[in-house]
């Protein structure tokens, strides 16, 4: 299936991939937390875009494409980045750790939980990269 980022099809495909990836299931077996992504407009993206993913014990229970922030007032993490930085991560041009450490990816939420689960976060990025067949 073609999964062009950003699109609702891409997000649905990501959900499918997460739920079928055995390595992710193992690495993220203890992860409990939903994530709200905010992609700031830049380049080909002219309006802000949001994604919501409910990740639980190595599976994805729910995704939402472009929900309002008010629909998910207390996600465990809010991640925000510009469109170019997000696409650079998805295409492997930008190391996700570099993105976080240089503030190209802003993180809001429990840092204690994040630092315990860096391998889970990195494996989530791997699955998202493998889902992405093209960039808008």
């Amino acid at each position: 299936m073609s999964a062009i980022f950003p699109s609702e099809e891409w997000l649905k495909e990501l959900e499918v991939k997460i739920n079928s990836d055995q390595h992710y299931a193992e690495v993220a077996r203890n992860w409990e937390g939903d994530i709200f992504f905010i992609i700031e407009p830049e380049g080909n993206l002219t309006e802000p875009l949001t994604f919501y993913l409910d990740l639980w014990h190595g599976k994805c229970r729910k995704v939402e494409y472009n929900p309002a922030a008010s629909a998910h007032p207390k996600p465990v993490f809010i991640l925000s980045a510009s469109y170019n930085n997000i696409t650079a991560i998805l295409t492997g041009k930008l190391n996700p750790m570099t993105a976080m450490m240089t503030m190209k990816l802003k993180v809001s939420g429990s840092m204690g939980y994040m630092m315990r689960n860096v391998p889970t976060v990195l494996d989530f990025v791997r699955v998202a990269q493998e889902t992405t067949t093209d960039i808008l």
Partner: protein, 603 residues
């Protein structure tokens, strides 16, 4: 920069030393400027514990200006155990307080006839008897000195019993547990019969209007930084889980590549269990310092990453409260926790190998995981009792005493910190080439190996097990951190190179570019190298201990060992250093404006 007050403790004479303007221009301040000032005095023949040995406390040019993490200062001289260039960077509030007296440095030589402390208030200078504080721990001593001088707001830098007894990794403390821990400058201070230096000033630290604007913006940005938020919430031990995952957190004295108990001692666990608050150095918006309650209702300093790993995984102790107590005990005695834990780890290791026995330890069984044995050894080291007397000379000398110098995980007499080059290969060069021995702060390259790049100054990402190809990148990172040590700011301040240039230009009325900033760092790095060459260092000193060159059999770094020879060859080329001697080339020294140094090294 303001003048430096030179104090000779032998005859209690003082004189002001005005810093030459061209030195300020080329070296800014802090450790870089100290290297320039002390260059003529740091000779091969100099005994670091002799009266002639200089001890220089020095601010940076932004000290106390409330810029991002600018409340720090450095202490420099000749290393007690290393016999090489020594510098130790320390936070707290003492440096800014010194600045308010009208001085930016204290340059101490000589030896007092009896235990002494100094009291400096504005231009008033007193030498006082330390009879009441000699033998006291660093916290008691500060309180007694403050009570004796009776001036609110005074700050006290102090040594503990370890410094008094010449433990070669004794530290100097100010405020509540801020430590100049590395290179044994507490022993140098103790050798001068100098227990403490109290300072209080009334001068206002003036800043330019443009700087005031920029520092506020920089502090606001820093407060929102991901790393700063992590350090505030979890402290530096936030790194433990991921470091362990990568095989970069050594355990069992660098012989075990993974540690299942990591989550019992990590920064996350600290935050969830014993943490009751944060503490900050002067003007710092990060506040990485831990305030903990160990169950007795007392608020005290909590451990940071090095202390947690040193007394935790390194000794296979997974009890966070006991680890915190071991760190506190070292602090009270005034001993560097990295070197103390490392040397105790070596003792455990040699005990396991049968190279030392209960006969050597006075019957003490050195069993992995025993915090009671570790605690007893800390007491014995600080008091130089029994086997502790040998351990107080550092791991290199201790290993040598039992015919096992090669087992000591140290470089040039400074114990290796807890960032394993088998997990993050850049640390191989950081440790092997640091001017003060196996130091993780002259280049905390593990962060770069995690992914922290600096595009603006060409510090890029290389895979964590890449080798010679990252050598030039390590050199750039060392130059960058040398800049930090000249301004004397904290390596946790994730402030962009351009912002740092802007802050310096605004504060000091300069017109520097990022290239100037990096060149300043490179200049000082080469100067420190030249100091060490004059004190006998050669290319043969750029090495790693045996343990770090043997691959782990498990964990995230399984099977990998750095090819140090190949890395060093590429590093020397990137540095413009002579492959045979390890000296900076004449051409490089001239290019950096170090004509007199070039003449000394190459004539």
């Amino acid at each position: 920069m303001q003048p430096i007050l030179k104090i000779n403790l032998t005859d209690n004479t003082t004189e002001e030393f005005s810093i030459p303007k061209e030195w300020e221009r080329d070296f800014l301040g802090g450790a870089s400027l100290a290297a320039r000032i002390l260059y003529p005095y740091l000779t091969k023949e100099l005994d670091p514990l002799s009266p002639e040995s200089p001890l220089l406390f020095l601010n940076g040019p932004l000290g106390g200006t409330n810029g991002p993490t600018t409340g720090r200062f450095v202490i420099c001289g000749k290393g007690a155990a290393t016999n090489l260039w020594a510098e130790s960077n320390i936070g707290g509030f003492w440096g800014p307080e010194l600045r308010k007296t009208g001085y930016d440095g204290l340059w101490i030589t000589g030896k007092a006839q009896s235990p002494t402390y100094l009291w400096i208030e504005g231009d008033r200078f007193e030498v006082r008897s330390a009879a009441n504080v000699w033998g006291k721990d660093v916290y008691e001593a500060q309180e007694i000195v403050k009570a004796e001088i009776g001036v609110k707001g005074a700050r006290v830098a102090v040594i503990g019993e370890a410094g008094e007894r010449g433990v070669l990794y004794a530290s100097i403390c100010c405020d509540h547990g801020r430590m100049a821990g590395r290179t044994g400058l507490g022993a140098v201070m103790g050798s001068k019969n100098l227990k403490a230096i109290a300072v209080h000033g009334k001068n206002k630290i003036e800043v330019a209007e443009r700087y005031a604007q920029l520092r506020s913006e920089a502090n606001r940005t820093l407060k929102q930084d991901n790393e700063a938020k992590i350090l505030h919430e979890l402290g530096s031990a936030s790194a433990a889980n991921y470091a362990e995952y990568l095989g970069a957190m050594p355990s069992k004295y660098y012989h075990q590549g993974s540690y299942k108990g990591v989550d019992k001692i990590s920064g996350s666990k600290t935050a969830e269990t014993i943490l009751v608050g944060q503490s900050a150095c002067q003007g710092c918006v990060i506040a990485c310092g831990r305030v903990v309650d160990l169950g007795d209702g007392t608020k005290r300093k909590g451990p940071e990453y090095e202390t947690i790993v040193g007394f935790g995984p390194n000794l296979l102790i997974d009890d966070l409260v006991e680890v915190a107590r071991l760190g506190e005990l070292c602090d009270k005695y005034g001993m560097d926790t990295i070197s103390t834990a490392n040397t105790i780890g070596l003792a455990f290791h040699l005990f396991e190998l049968g190279k030392i026995t209960p006969q050597d330890t006075g019957g003490l069984a050195l069993a992995w995981g025993s915090f009671l044995a570790a605690r007893q050894l800390i007491h014995m080291i600080a008091r130089r009792e029994g086997i502790g007397d040998l351990m107080a000379n550092g791991s290199r000398a201790f290993g040598k005493a039992f015919g096992a110098e090669e087992e000591a995980v140290q470089v040039n007499g400074l114990e290796v910190a807890y960032h394993d080059p088998r997990g993050v290969s850049g640390m191989a060069l950081s440790y092997a080439t640091s001017p003060r021995g196996a130091c993780h702060n002259q280049s905390d390259y593990f962060f770069v190996d995690w992914g922290h790049t600096y595009d603006e100054i060409g510090i890029n990402f290389y895979e964590r097990h890449a080798q010679a190809e990252k050598a030039a990148n390590v050199a750039k990172h060392q130059n960058w951190r040398t800049h930090f040590n000249s301004v004397v700011i904290c390596i946790f301040a994730n402030v962009s190179p351009q912002t740092q240039v802007d802050l310096l230009n605004a504060a000091l009325d300069l017109d520097w570019t990022m290239e100037d900033l990096m060149k300043s760092g490179e200049r000082a790095w080469n100067l420190k190298r030249a100091i060490n060459i004059r004190m006998g260092l050669t290319a043969a000193n750029d090495k790693l201990p045996k343990a770090l060159l043997e691959p782990y059999h498990e964990g995230g770094a399984k099977g990998f060992a750095p090819d140090l020879k190949g890395m060093l060859a590429a590093y020397y080329e990137a540095r413009g250093w002579d492959l045979e001697t390890g000296k900076p080339s004449k051409q490089k020294l001239l290019e950096l404006g170090l004509q007199d140094i070039a003449k000394d090294l190459w004539s």
